[in-house]
Symmetry: D2
Subunit: 237 residues, 4 copies
């Protein structure tokens, strides 16, 4: 049945309509009446200053007039966290409409497996070789057995929406995700743990892997906005 185990996530930028210039344009309409557009264009330093000012004083709306659409493949337990972010648009693969493929996430050997500390502030540490081996073997056996049961039910004519009940949350699912820069910064502030952040976050490693690729694309599309975000404690405006 060609079962596959992977330790990564896929994040592709499908389409974007997002640039620092859009932020400056939108802000000029509302906040910076005295400044003329020609001045902004002529003097990039003023754009830097304006974007920094907007970020620092939480004028968030100029960061909304843009959009980024990603195609993401990630395990279901990541999607469960991702979709708690309500200021975003989602179209996820439906296990009611299609048969899910046998692709499952299993932690890589670098992924810390052991937690310590208090709820809400767990620290993670590498597992022992025995723990690593146990995790890998248990996930592989469990997923293989579950997918086999899934196929057996489908072959017996059971509806997809019923058969899928046995599938584990580590199976991969795909979705389109569209966010604007303001929503994305909020996502990044909660789903990455970065030194120097005003708020400390404790994201699960697997959603952080998605967040890292989002952030790379964001930094390329909107470098001034991204810098300002970092300079002001990674707090979404």
């Amino acid at each position: 049945m060609g079962i596959e185990f992977r330790s990564d996530v896929t994040v592709e930028l499908v389409r974007a309509n997002a640039s620092d210039a859009d932020v400056v344009f939108a802000a000029r309409v509302s906040t910076v009446g005295e400044q003329s557009l020609e001045d902004v264009d002529a003097d990039p330093q003023r754009s830097v200053g304006l974007i920094n000012y907007l970020m620092r004083d939480r004028h968030g709306s100029p960061f909304e007039h843009n959009s980024m659409t990603f195609f993401v493949k990630a395990p279901i337990f990541v999607w469960r966290e991702h979709m708690r972010h309500r200021i975003a648009s989602y179209n996820e693969e439906s296990a009611r409409y299609r048969e899910l493929l046998p692709v499952f996430y299993v932690p890589s050997h670098e992924r810390p497996l052991v937690q310590s500390g208090k709820p809400g502030a767990y620290e993670f540490h590498p597992g022992t070789p025995a723990q690593s081996e146990l995790v890998e073997r248990t996930i592989q056996e469990s997923c293989t057995a579950a997918y086999s049961g899934y196929l057996e039910m489908l072959e017996a004519g059971v509806a997809r929406e019923v058969a899928r009940m046995v599938l584990p949350v580590t199976i991969y699912s795909s979705a389109y995700v569209t966010m604007n820069a303001r929503a994305l910064m909020n996502f990044l502030s909660l789903r990455r743990k970065v030194e120097g952040s005003y708020f400390v976050s404790y994201p699960q490693r697997e959603i952080e892997m998605v967040a890292e690729v989002y952030e790379d694309h964001f930094a390329q599309l909107m470098p001034l906005t991204h810098s300002a975000f970092n300079e002001h404690g990674r707090v979404a405006p």
Copy 2:
């Protein structure tokens, strides 16, 4: 390990601040300037008329000044659909913070197991005894094995957020859900299939079971609003 299989969902109304009178009050502020509050109170028929008018002409905002909080236990595949409704507040049990209990959903014998028809408009039919038996046995065996692997990893010191990867989407999870009447009507219009609806929906049976209890509470709390919703094609205003 005391594994449990159930075929129901739990929906309790925890708290509500919701009545038809609130709708009338809110509407009076904006839309019905000529009518005095005393008149409304003195004449219940006018409240009926006003609420019907608001529903029919889609003046939706008067239906937002209220809230209903539910405590719900349902399988994860139901939560996955539920949380696509973004105009709602959620606090769900976290498998990162606590060990999930071994309680799993398995379809009852009445639950249709076989689908026919085109995508987006599936019809469902009862399974044969052999299909029923297969579904029940496969889910029970698969969940038992998965939970056993989960426990084994926990006992070996693996972090909860890693061990849970093997758990199937049919395991139960609990959450607090808060919605206002407008959001709830939208939920009901999409998650129940009711004769006479202007739009036809094809909800999965298990989320419909949640929707049914929501609707019972809603009908008791806001009977005039609920009637108007039904009379106007079950379209959320």
Copy 3:
């Protein structure tokens, strides 16, 4: 002081990332597993069919992965209605940061001035010449006097945010507005009165003028989506 009276609104499409193909792509991820992308491209009729199906059965999320940004000049009383639409992004000219220009809206001679009928379902009729003349003269005199008081206070050193208190709601203000197609269809369903709509709306003429230009751009950018919207009662999915 160069006061200006106008009877129109300005709506420019600043930027768009919106096409029917995006809808089809997003829908394919979730709802139409069986259909391959090559098929869709090869057969435009299938795109038509898919978009119609999504609209009819209210699969709304595929219509969210796009964005349209408009630059709009309209009187403040229009903005007051516009900003009740919360699924949109706004950056409006701020009278705290800049001096507003003396440009005011006055109804054209074609604009019906007299209402009849019940609240919520007013009908509008042309005014008599005397009524037209009264409206034009009163608005012009009142705006001229108010703006003169505004300037006098500014020249005396009074803060802009205080001086603006005398300005009438018919003064023009500018804003950036960004919406996706789903939000825009909701706006159009409420802010235009079109024969054949499932729901009857009674928008004020001036916001309808904005809606008309939005709709022209939308129809050009996403012709299949726009057609499906019209064919299915102009109800946003």
Copy 4:
């Protein structure tokens, strides 16, 4: 015509379903699996600790399962700012459905009238007696003349939605406003200027007057949440 000039705003708490205990309950479902409800009740200090932890680490969702409904009378220029807050429900008096009353806001003698400093960080200073007198006289004359024109048009049979175009943004309007605690804290963080806030805000005085009464009610209903909000830089979680 009984014209009235006032220098205050009216904010009444109409209805609330909001307490610190609700926050603790909701949080327990998701984040604090190890703690039993009896423990929480038995030990108020643990509630304090939990709420502080949620606020500090921005676990915002437990603060959403509650609602507060206010009836507010404020000038239109305040409503224009207020309604930029999209996570809230509004029903405002409609000048299309009813004749607005001649009640206008005029700054009190204590209200600073002169601004200095840079855009986005204006400082405000008391006006001279001459400035005060000019503001008061100009607003009174301008509003009186505008309202007189409004009445004249209404009496001539002109539709309310047209006649209202001359009314100034300092006229009072009423609305129902419903928010949950999370949305309210965001409002307060932006619409009050309080020492010790992590972010500095520069709200217009008149919306700050509304925010002050909101905060008084909030502090009474949810004292632990309010304290935690203040202790953690008045940043909404």
